[in-house]
């Protein structure tokens, strides 16, 4: 949007007149005039055109009216992306709002339509507050303001700063938003916790608790009330029932019916008794009849049996006697056989003794024979033994230790060898005497013979007569002679050990020992032959044979004949014994036959005796039989009579079971009635108690009251729940709107603001609160200054720059909007004003900026398009 012209009539000091500003261009436009030329009037009129409905007369509109009254008219031309329009508003009399096409004058909208058109102009797109872009001396123009405040500089200085806050607050709801949120949260948190649960101790939680408690109480009381009602109903029922059954008439009726039934039952019982007596009488008669019959039959059978038994007894006695005779015969045979066996056995014993004696004599004879031989052998063996012992002693003295001979031989041969070698190596001394000198030389006093050769051994002193003593030393010969001496010593030691003189003697002894040993072997073999088990065994044998030979005391006879005799006797004994055994077996059989026959006979006898006893004297048998028969007939008649009586009684009996059942039934009716009456009375008494208790506590009233209170509490709970929902909804809406606004504006505006700040405050850096978009502090010369203590110039500069930043933001969003400044730079020094001018120009490259100012000189340096006011009268 871009303004191109502004016209007003009947506004404030222009009572009855008007002014116009035409040809407002792009970029910077400056209306510079002294005070009281109507700059602020223009500003206010333009503001009212955009923001005051033509129908209302709020303070801002009233302020436009001239003191003399009249109807303020404001008109502005503007161009937008959609074209060029003319807006007209008249307040008070003839109030109207119109939108026309500027060029054709065609009416596009009026009244509310026009208002909507205007509202869309300033609000459309990103719904930014267009008011932001209006900066008057210290005020934003969108806040309620008191005239008095406008006029005091102190207030102005304050509001210059707060205007920035105001703008930001307008965006985010600001302080009011915060207050609304606080109020909302305060109310909400009184009811619920931060997590949305009912807050303990809060009204909501209390209401819920109360509802629950009352519900519980109501349920309990409801139960008690229904209990009471049930009790009342029940008691009524009981009373009704009692009035039916618990009256004298009904009791009498029940009694009479019972008495009748009792009488009937007694009759039935008496009749039954007599029937039972008859029956038992008949049974008794029957018993008697049966026993009489048994008596007569039994007697007759006993008689028959007696006769049979008597015959059998006679037969058995005969049989027994025969058996006895047979047994005695058999016993005789057994005795004879035993005697025969005994004699045969005696004979056998005698024969056996004879045979034994004969055999002993024979053995003694043989022993005597062997004894002579044994004695010869013993003598010879003894001699041989002695010879052996002598030979062994000799051998022991002759025997040389094994290997010693060989050792001696070796020592001998070694000695000889050494001697030979020594002789061979020894220097030989030979003297061939000159004549006359024989024997002049001697060695060790022994004169050497002519041509005698002597070996020189060791140091030999040769005495040469008349000459002196010649000492010859042969070291080699000395060595040899020592070896020989050692060998000789060794041989001598061996000889000493063997106790012989020489090797030859040793060999001779060896040969002697060998001969003796051969003889000894022969003697030992002979001894072995003579006494193979040794001499001691041979002597024992001799002693034994001597005993054997001495024991024979009978002459030997014919042994074989004796043996044959014994065999015959033995055979006879065997035959005898068999015969005896057979006889014994026969006698055992006959004995058992005898026992059996005797037992049989005895049994029959005793049976017969017993029967005879029971039958009594035989003479009375006949009479007794007759008597029993008569008795039987009599009992039979008695029984038949009794039976007839039973049948007669049975024919006319009463049904006892039916009488009893009837009696029982009436009895139970009576009992049941009595029992029911008692029970009902008791129950009624119990109910009385229950009802009494409940009634006294006015239970229904309490219940009713609790129900009412419950309804109330539930209503209150619902109300509070709704309150929570409403408050939660409101809080969410507020928070969402605020964060949306922040997202929407803060970052972009800050981005736009930074280069402008750099332009202006090259010596200072301004920090903004990211959350509120309010300048927080200014850092200058290393010092932090809170925004609250900034100079008025600084504040107004910040205010303007913030607006410019917004304007840039809107322009970038495709919504170019004019920035209108009314004496907005009041406190700024010249240097700063220049910088502000730079900032404005920088901004104006994409933006329309309209500046109203009374500071003609200062603003002359702003440059830009200069605007002029001209008188104007609207077309009527």
């Amino acid at each position: 949007m871009k303004l191109t012209a502004l016209r007003l009539h009947n506004v404030r000091r222009f009572a009855g007149t008007g002014v116009r500003i035409e040809n407002i261009g792009d970029g910077i436009n400056v209306l510079c005039a002294a005070n009281e030329h109507g700059k602020s009037t223009c500003f206010d009129a333009l503001h009212a055109l955009f923001f005051q409905p033509h129908t209302g007369t709020p303070g801002a509109v009233q302020a436009l009216r001239p003191y003399s009254g009249g109807n303020p008219l404001v008109e502005a031309d503007l161009t937008t992306a959609d074209g060029a329009f003319r807006l007209t508003k008249q307040f008070y009399g003839g109030r109207r709002a119109q939108v026309r096409e500027r060029d054709s004058g065609r009416l596009i909208a009026q009244a509310d339509e026009a208002e909507r058109f205007i509202a869309a102009l300033v609000k459309g797109g990103i719904s930014g507050p267009a008011g932001l872009l209006w900066v008057r001396q210290g005020v934003t123009g969108i806040e309620r303001r008191a005239k008095a405040e406008d006029e005091t500089e102190r207030r102005a200085r304050e509001t210059v700063l707060t205007s920035v806050q105001g703008e930001v607050e307008a965006l985010t709801g600001g302080r009011r938003m915060t207050e609304a949120l606080l109020a909302c949260e305060e109310e909400l948190l009184r009811l619920v916790t931060a997590t949305g649960r009912p807050k303990a101790g809060g009204p909501y939680a209390i209401a819920i608790d109360e509802s629950e408690q009352l519900a519980e109480q109501e349920r309990r009381l409801g139960t008690e009330v229904s209990d009471l009602r049930a009790a009342l109903d029940r008691r009524r029922t009981i009373r009704g029932r009692l009035s039916e059954i618990d009256t004298p008439e009904t009791a009498r009726e029940r009694q009479a019916a019972l008495a009748e039934a009792e009488a009937e039952l007694a009759a039935a019982k008496a009749q039954t008794e007599s029937f039972k007596a008859a029956e038992s009488k008949a049974a008794l008669a029957l018993n008697r009849r049966v026993s009489a019959e048994q008596a007569v039959t039994g007697f007759r059978q006993a008689l028959a049996r007696f006769a049979g038994l008597r015959d059998a007894e006679a037969g058995a006695a005969q049989e027994r006697d025969a058996a006895r005779a047979r047994h005695q015969g058999a016993a005789g045979i057994v005795r004879e056989a035993a005697a025969a066996v005994e004699s045969a056995e005696r004979e056998e014993r005698e024969q056996r003794d004879l045979l034994a004696r004969l055999e002993r004599a024979l053995r003694a004879q043989e022993a005597a024979n062997r004894l002579a031989t044994a004695r010869d052998s013993e003598r010879e063996a003894q001699a041989t033994r002695e010879q052996i012992e002598r030979m062994e002693a000799t051998l022991k003295s002759l025997a040389l230790p094994a290997g010693k001979i060989a050792e001696l031989e070796q020592a001998e041969s070694q000695l000889l060898q050494l001697q030979a070698r020594a002789e061979a190596r020894a220097p030989q001394l030979r003297i061939d005497y000159a004549d006359g000198a024989e024997g002049g030389i001697s060695i060790a006093g022994i004169a050497l013979t002519q041509a005698e050769e002597r070996p020189l051994v060791g140091t030999t002193q040769i005495e040469i007569a008349a000459i002196g003593r010649l000492t010859v030393t042969a070291p080699q010969a000395e060595e040899d002679s020592r070896s020989i001496a050692r060998a000789q010593a060794k041989r001598q030691a061996l000889l000493d050990e063997l106790q012989v003189d020489s090797l030859a003697a040793a060999r001779l002894r060896e040969g002697q020992a060998r001969d003796i040993k051969a003889d000894l072997d022969i003697a030992r073999r002979r001894l072995q032959l003579l006494a193979p088990n040794g001499l001691a065994a041979l002597r024992e044998q001799i002693a034994r044979l001597e005993t054997e030979a001495a024991s024979a005391n009978e002459a030997p006879a014919d042994l074989n004949a004796a043996r044959q005799q014994l065999g015959a006797v033995e055979a006879r004994v065997g035959a005898m014994r068999e015969a005896a055994r057979a006889a014994q077996a026969r006698t055992e059989t006959s004995a058992s036959a005898l026992v059996e026959a005797e037992r049989h006979a005895a049994g029959l006898s005793s049976a017969l005796a017993a029967l005879a006893e029971s039958l009594g004297p035989q003479a009375e048998w006949r009479g007794r039989e007759e008597r029993l028969s008569v008795e039987h007939d009599e009992t039979d008649r008695a029984w038949q009579a009794a039976q007839r009586q039973v049948e007669e009684l049975a024919a006319r009996t009463i049904d006892l079971a039916a009488a009893e059942a009837r009696h029982l039934r009436l009895r139970s009716v009576m009992d049941a009635a009595r029992e029911e009456i008692t029970r009902l009375r008791e129950e009624a008494a119990g109910l009385d108690g229950r009802i009494q208790t409940r009634t006294e506590t006015a239970i229904e009233e309490t219940w009713q009251e609790t129900r009412d209170r419950l309804a109330q509490a539930q209503q209150r709970t619902a109300m509070l729940a709704r309150e929570v929902a409403v408050l939660s909804r409101l809080r969410n809406a507020l928070e969402a709107a605020r964060s949306q606004a922040r997202d929407h504006y803060f970052a972009p505006v800050l981005q736009e603001l930074r280069p402008l700040l750099g332009l202006l405050f090259d010596d200072a850096s301004v920090t903004f609160d990211e959350d509120t978009l309010l300048p927080r502090s200014v850092q200058r010369n290393g010092l932090d200054e809170q925004v609250g203590v900034l100079s008025g110039g600084m504040r107004e500069q910040l205010a303007i720059l913030t607006r410019l930043a917004f304007a840039r933001l809107l322009a970038k969003g495709g919504q170019p909007t004019p920035v209108i400044l009314d004496d907005a730079l009041v406190y700024s020094d010249d240097d700063r004003i220049e910088k502000m001018f730079d900032a404005l120009h920088r901004q104006a490259s994409a933006q329309q900026v309209i500046v109203f100012s009374c500071r003609q000189r200062a603003f002359a340096r702003l440059g830009g398009h200069v605007l002029r006011t001209e008188p104007w009268q609207p077309d009527q």
């Binding site: 008011g131 709801g173 009011r176 506590t697 006015a698 419950l710 929902a725 409403v726 909804r729 409101l730």
Partner: protein, 373 residues
């Protein structure tokens, strides 16, 4: 000539559990003292008999205090005769109640517990139809037509129950024939049950409750002073005031442009009578947020003057225009929030409950902003 006071439905001992504690005590007390007011009216008119047509007691088991104090109050007016009929709330099923009354009643209290003629005066016979149970399920007045009386005797029917299915307790099985007076040759049929006073016919009346107990009937507590000149002659029936508390439902019809608070002032009773008034304002129509806020604030301010002052505003539609939103803010986040809520409150795709919550949240925002301003 026979003159008596006809009343019913005293509901002595009614707990009023849903009322604030302090008011409950007063309401209960008013129910008790109505006995004195009845007596005063009867004495003033020269009537010696008071017919109480049922529901003298609120429950079948009134507390001993309620019972004894009521009897004591009746006994205190010894020139009067009180005749009590069992109603549906205190029917004969409440054996303990009626047995207790029978033993402890003072001499001037008569219990009409038998459906049999009872001689009230020389030529006046009362034909009571006591409720046998809470819901008898039949017309208990039928027997009245069969009850023979000497000629020229004034016959007064005495019953409790509905003549249409508008009974307080609902149900239609036990409706009293509306023309019972004519059919049974009654000079007057004194009815109880309906808490509002109502004429059924020239000889048949509901007296209404002497002390109202609910908003339903929207009338003061009254009894009927009945004068029967002679047998067969038309009775003279005259309402007399007996109520202590006034229960009122006031309709407040709002228009969008109006300020309902001004109407309210005209509606409400004035002065000290407010203390005895229970008022329920039923607001309908349309209003704007500021007016609505103001209305609620006004009500809150004057509510303490009343025994009870309630606003029922479910039917009151609060409409929001954009200038209303201007009161919250012209632009910015606060305005955005308000518009979000406004849109939500009119969003047909949402449930009515959600819309209502959004609408109330908006109202709340109005009140916050108004308070801040």
């Amino acid at each position: 000539m026979f003159r008596f006071l006809h009343s019913a439905d005293l509901h002595l001992g009614k707990p009023f559990g849903s009322m604030p504690d302090e008011l409950r005590g007063r309401l209960r007390e008013a129910r008790h003292t109505v006995l004195d007011r009845l007596a005063t009216q009867a004495c003033a008119a020269g009537a010696e008999t008071i017919l109480l047509a049922g529901d003298v007691f609120d429950t079948e088991t009134p507390s001993p205090a309620v019972l004894r104090q009521a009897l004591a109050a009746m006994a205190g007016h010894d020139g009067l005769r009180w005749i009590l009929l069992p109603g549906n709330h205190d029917s004969l099923a409440a054996e303990a109640l009626w047995a207790g009354l029978a033993t402890s009643r003072p001499g001037n209290v008569v219990l009409a517990t038998e459906p049999a003629p009872f001689q009230l005066a020389g030529d006046v016979v009362l034909l009571p139809a006591p409720c046998t149970t809470r819901r008898p399920g039949r017309d208990l007045t039928e027997w009245m037509a069969l009850a023979a009386t000497p000629p020229d005797t004034i016959r007064i029917g005495f019953a409790h129950g509905a003549v249409q299915s508008f009974s307080e307790d609902g149900g239609a099985g036990d409706v009293i024939a509306p023309d019972r007076a004519a059919r049974a040759g009654l000079d007057y049929l004194a009815l109880g049950d309906w808490h509002g006073q109502m004429r059924i016919g020239p000889r048949t009346w509901y007296s209404g409750a002497p002390e109202p107990d609910r908003f339903k009937h929207d009338a003061t507590g009254r009894a009927l002073l009945v004068t029967l000149p002679a047998a067969g002659a038309e009775p003279a029936v005259e309402p007399v005031e007996t109520g202590s508390f006034d229960w009122r439902m006031l309709a407040l019809d709002c228009l969008a442009g109006d300020d309902p608070s001004t109407h309210l002032a005209a509606l409400l009773p004035a002065g000290p009578s407010r203390r005895q008034s229970l008022v329920r304002i039923v607001a309908t129509g349309r209003t704007r947020p500021p007016a609505r806020t103001r209305l609620e604030a006004d009500l809150k301010a004057i509510a303490p003057e009343f025994a009870l002052l309630q606003l029922e505003a479910q039917e009151l539609v609060t409409e929001c225009e954009s200038e209303d939103l201007d009161q919250i803010d012209r632009a910015g986040a606060l305005r955005d929030a308000a518009e979000m809520l406004l849109a939500e409150s009119g969003d047909e795709s949402r449930s009515p409950a959600e819309r209502e919550v959004a609408r109330e949240a908006l109202m709340r925002l109005f009140s916050y902003c108004a308070a801040a301003a």
